[in-house]
């Protein structure tokens, strides 16, 4: 199905909203997985309240929404390993990299070594990243 050749484009999914309270984060994740299933070159950026989407130990008990945060751990299986988190957004919320889920991918060319998928970036680096994309989708 997805092996039929076709064009590979660079997709950046920009996530700016908190995980719950709206459908944006979950919808973004679904679209990300679809993009990856079609073997596109996928990158993710988490900015502003979007950084909360990657927070460890989420619990949705009491708000009646599904806790979909475990799904971010499957991104590595989909060969998604370019996950950029805006350093300033994280700091402004009193968070550090240690507060985020430890997302990893396995490098087939390095004896399946587990490597971290998340990189912290500043706004200049984000601008460069956006410049390199074919398509940017904002959620």
């Amino acid at each position: 199905m997805e092996e039929d050749g076709g064009v590979t484009k660079k997709f950046l999914y920009v996530n700016r909203r908190a995980p719950y309270g709206s459908i944006y984060a979950l919808e973004s994740l679904e679209v990300v997985l679809i993009g990856a299933a079609f073997e596109q070159d996928v990158s993710l950026a988490f900015i502003d309240d979007g950084v909360y989407q990657l927070k460890k130990s989420q619990s949705t008990d009491g708000i009646g929404m599904k806790n979909f945060s475990p799904t971010y751990n499957a991104l590595g299986d989909y060969d998604i390993n370019k996950i950029y988190v805006d350093k300033d957004s994280l700091e402004q919320r009193g968070l550090t990299l240690d507060d985020l889920m430890n997302l990893t991918w396995e490098d087939e060319n390095d004896n399946y070594a587990e490597k971290p998928s998340i990189s912290l970036v500043n706004s200049e680096e984000l601008a460069v990243l956006m410049e390199q994309q074919d398509i940017i989708l904002s959620f």
Partner: protein, 111 residues
């Protein structure tokens, strides 16, 4: 809404035959769903179905076929982690068909 009969109990399925509520799944439900495709489940089928249920439990998604193939290879060995083996077991598509038998939603990205 359509439904299937599992030992006298009515279990809801969507228009494509996937269980509406994952918690209503049972081995008997899997047998009834596979009988709809005229497929008899062997140990090899169960291995994949159980793998999918564990995958869903851990990640809350039904994996795309490419991801399933790779993950099966890692867990059960390369002789099982390839399209040929999986398509022989599940001729309508290993992710699509096996997910249905496992009571999971249709995999994201499957058309």
């Amino acid at each position: 809404m359509a439904s299937i009969d599992v030992n006298g109990k009515s279990v809801e399925v969507d228009e494509e035959g996937y269980l509406v509520d994952l918690n209503e799944w049972s081995e008997d439900a899997a047998k009834i769903l596979s009988a709809q495709d005229e497929l008899e489940l062997t140990d090899s089928h169960w291995e994949v179905i159980n793998f999918l249920r564990e995958y869903y439990e851990e990640y809350q998604i039904a994996p795309a076929v490419r991801v399933l193939t790779k993950a099966i290879g890692k867990k059960l060995g390369p002789e099982k982690g390839n399209s040929k083996y999986l398509y022989e077991l599940f001729p309508y598509g290993p992710a699509k068909q096996a997910c249905r038998f496992a009571g999971l939603p249709k995999p994201t990205g499957c058309v």
